[in-house]
Structure formats: C-alpha cells, structure tokens
Symmetry: C2
Subunit: 303 residues, 2 copies
C-alpha cells in the first residue's frame, strides 16, 4: 500500500472508528443483561464499567478483519462485544486497590469507586463469564467448531500464560527489565487480545492458515505501536486528555520501551513496527485501508 | 429404590467418593499448567487453591451422571476438572478481604493469605478462564456442539444471574429474608453448579430432554440438602472439623433455612428433599446408587 493511500485512509479513520464504536455499543447493549431482581447491582456495575465510551479498538479490529473474509457484521459484532467484555473485566480488576489502585478511568470514577470493591470483583467476574457465553451462542456463528475455536483462542490469549500472565509479570516487574523482557510482558498483557481480535476475522470466515498468520503478524506489530504510543502518552500527556492518571510508570520504577530506548528511540521503533504491520497484511493491505491506517493513526494519537 | 438399597449404597459411598476424588485430582494435575517462566507465581497460586483435597463433590456428580449415559470417564473427568476449576475460582474470590474476608479454608491459609491479594484475584480469574478452555478442547468431546452446550450452560449457571448473582444477593442479604428468598439465593449461589454438574452427564451422552430434566430436578433438591446440612454444620460443628470459620451466618445476621425453620424444621426439610431428589431420578435411581445415596450421605455429614 502506498504512503499516499495510507495517508488518505488515515484521514478517514476517525470516522470509521466512530462508526464502528456506534455499532459495537448497540451490540453490547443487546448482549448485556438488563439490571433486574436482587442481583441488579452487579448487572448495573457490568454496564457502568463497559458503557464508558472509548474507541472500542479491539471490536474495530474484529469487524475489519472479519469484513476482509466476507463475514457478516452481525457475527463480527458479537465477537467484538465478547472481546470488549473481556477487556473491560481486565480493566475493572486491574483498577482494584490490590492492583493498580486507580480511582479514575476515562475521566470517570473506576467501578470499585462508583460501586464498591466487592461489586467490582463480581462485575469483573461476570464480564469475563459473559464473554464466553456470547461466543458459545449459535448467533455468533452457525458452526460450533468455529465457536469453539474462538473460545479456545480467547481463553489462551487471556489466561495464565497470556493476559493474566502479563499482568502478574507487570506487577512483579522491576528496573532490571530489558527491551526483550518489556516486549514479552506487553505482548502478553495487551498484545494477546489484539492478536485474538485480528485472528477472529479469519476464524469466523474460515480463511486459510496463511491468512490467519498474516492477521496475527499484523496484530503483533500493531500491538507494539499501541503500547509504545501509550507509554509515550504516559510521559507527555496530561490526565485531562487521557482521562486517567499519567506518569505512573516512572513513579513506580517500571521500565517501558520509552524509558529503555528514550523518546526518540521508542518513536522510531513504533514507526518501524507500523510499517512492518502493514507489510504483514500482504495482499490484504489495500483491501483493508482501516487496518492499514490504524498503526499510523496511533502514532499521532494524543489520548 | 428401596430404603435398604439406599442404606447399602450409603455405606459404600465414602469409598466411591474417595475413588472419584483420586481420578479428579489426576485430571486436574493434567489440565493445570506447570508453573514456568515469570508468570509462575499465578500458576502456583492456581494449583495451591485447587489442590487442597476435599470430596470433589461436583466432579463426582459429573462422573456418575455421565456413567448413567454411557459416557467415557476420560471425558467426564475433563468436565469435572472444569467445574472444579470454576468452583475454586469462586472460593478464592469469596475469601478475599472485600468479600467474606476468610483466612482459613479446609484447614489451610486461603490463597490471598498464602500469596497476596493481587495474586489471589488473578489466580481466580485464571481458574475461571481455564474452565472454559478445558471445555472448548476437543479432548472433552469430539462434537463441538456438545462442547458449546456445556460452555453455554456453565456460563449461565455461574454468571450474573447464577452463581455471581447469588453471591451479590448474599452479600446484600439482611434479616428480612424469608424461606423462599433464602432458597432462591442459595439455588443461585451453590445450587446452579450442582445442576450443571448433573446435567453434564446427559449433555455429554446425548440423552433425551426428559433425562436431562430428571438429573436437573435431582440436582436441585440435592443442592438444598447440601445447603441445609452446610448451614446445620455452621451452627453445630467446630472449625477444627470443617476446616473453616463457623458460626459466621448468625454473627452476620444472615437468614438461613436453619434460622428460619429451626434445627428440627430444617432437618425435616432436608430429609424431604433427599427423598424427592431420588424420586426425581425415576428409572435411573437404581442404576446410579452413588447418586441415590448422596443426599442421605449428606444428611449424616459432620464436615
């Protein structure tokens, strides 16, 4: 894909992201329970945590990776709702006092502040549980083999060696971490869910192993771009813009690619990864301008 | 099934439970990760929490409900491992300071005491996640439709309207709760997982809806027997015997069927339910002496 084509697609991306987020919010509203009965409090907390707006980046990746392989939006959006529920559970638990102890997320009180700690633990558990419930439902895909493939991949990506493994490594990390250590940690902690999101399209569409590998490789580099730009924001932005506390990594003596490579070095690495992500898409790069533009869009982000 | 046949089966039950628990412990050892790499701590905590011995009652129900319908033990034991992982996650999270704040479980320090609170939250999350990973794996059953049916049923049983719903209701419960309220709460909090365990057999065996309904009805009454005898123990036993704190319900002003019906009334209700559970099995009662004897075995339990 040419630089000028990517530039043009990047200009259109905010609209595409907003359109996708609107579809995802509708899908989430449809699959989440309406608070009812004595258990209403936990259902309200599930909705509070997930209905916080945002770019819905993971469902965006599912939607566009699915369209590449001719998958109906309704199916992709259910998978998008599942990954967003799973991502949200991880935020709710990460914000708890025994973990990051954050009071603010997207400019609003975190779930354990708006409700209480017990309700936040349970709402997180329920969001994790419902993500598998959504995937197991025949409305997600008529083939149970496809549904089981999605469930197995999501469990692997988010489990003890994936996202949860990354979270515990992050909690125990210290100043001795080098570049490879940080990349491994971040690939587990945030990258694995991006990889699931991009592989969901080829899985739903019954694509070839080669195509699935292309989308996975794209996601791996895109995830590094996301993480570096997130770490850059942590250093350069304000709480007002990001809606959460900033400067926490440095305060806690944690290494990131920014502390290890410097601002310039980290930015150069992100740019290299952005180009490599698009290259990994191969023949699909031009057919999916939204995916091709995304890493470059992230390089410019200020929130 | 005659009273004398049940009496005979009850005498054999401790051996049957011990034999099943041994098989389940092997299955758990096989499906749980070996601690490795920087994330070892969360994997160690998963094993610490689940490898605490015990009767493995839920996997016992899966195993014997599965044998009724000609299902191979290897498959039933994988489902048993999944339900035990899920049950264990719920205990780890329930024991947290923000919930029941228990330091002791089965005579050992609870997971957040033996490790720390953060690790306990993450180990619980990982046990919940792995339970769905086990079910999605083709080794559990060759039919993906069967695997998705198990996943959907487990998610429903353990989710916002099932076990988690019961947990939040329990946390918010007060002295105004009547008999029907308590039965509803306990059916969600503990009964739903028993129902899943007993329905897993007919699901794995492709049994008729009638047979599935029989096992479900059995589980519902068996669950009430379990809960009443648990509540009786909370009043009459010692921490030494049960391996956990006792007398907590009364201390916290919570209603149970024992506080509402009295010791004699609660015991009479449990006996009525035990008989009804066996009757619900219909033609299968005599073919599954382990299931038929279990409710009566629970009536005698002292731990």
């Amino acid at each position: 894909m040419s630089d000028s084509a990517i530039l043009a697609a990047k200009a259109e991306l905010p609209k595409a992201i907003a359109a996708s987020a609107k579809l995802v919010d509708s899908a989430l509203d449809a699959v989440l329970p309406q608070p009812a009965g004595r258990q209403a409090r936990v259902q309200e907390a599930m909705r509070y945590a997930i209905m916080a707006g945002g770019k819905r980046l993971r469902p965006f990746l599912v939607l566009h990776s699915a369209r590449l392989f001719g998958v109906e939006d309704t199916r992709a959006l259910r998978v998008g709702a599942a990954i967003e529920a799973l991502h949200t559970y991880s935020l709710v638990h990460d914000d708890l006092p025994c973990m990051d102890d954050d009071d603010l997320r997207r400019g609003r009180p975190t779930t354990h502040i708006a409700f209480d700690e017990m309700t936040a633990v349970l709402a997180g558990d329920a969001l994790l549980t419902i993500s598998f419930e959504i995937l197991a439902d025949a409305r997600t895909h008529p083939s149970a083999d496809v549904r089981c493939a999605l469930i197995a991949r999501l469990a692997e990506a988010s489990g003890h060696s994936g996202m949860i493994g990354g979270q515990i490594i992050d909690m125990l990390a210290d100043a001795s971490f080098g570049v490879e250590d940080v990349i491994d940690l971040q690939r587990r902690k945030t990258g694995q869910l991006f990889e699931f999101s991009c592989e969901a399209g080829p899985i739903l569409g019954g694509a070839s192993p080669e195509d699935r590998a292309r989308l996975k490789a794209y996601a791996e580099d895109m995830g590094v771009v996301f993480q570096i730009t997130d770490d850059l924001l942590d250093v350069t932005s304000t709480a007002e813009k990001t809606g959460k506390a900033v400067g926490k990594d440095a305060d806690m003596g944690k290494q990131t690619l920014v502390t290890l490579l410097g601002l310039e070095g980290a930015r150069a690495e992100a740019e290299k990864r952005a180009r490599r992500a698009v290259a990994a898409l191969g023949p699909h790069a031009a057919r999916a301008p939204e995916l091709s533009a995304l890493p470059f869009f992230l390089l410019d982000r200020d929130a």
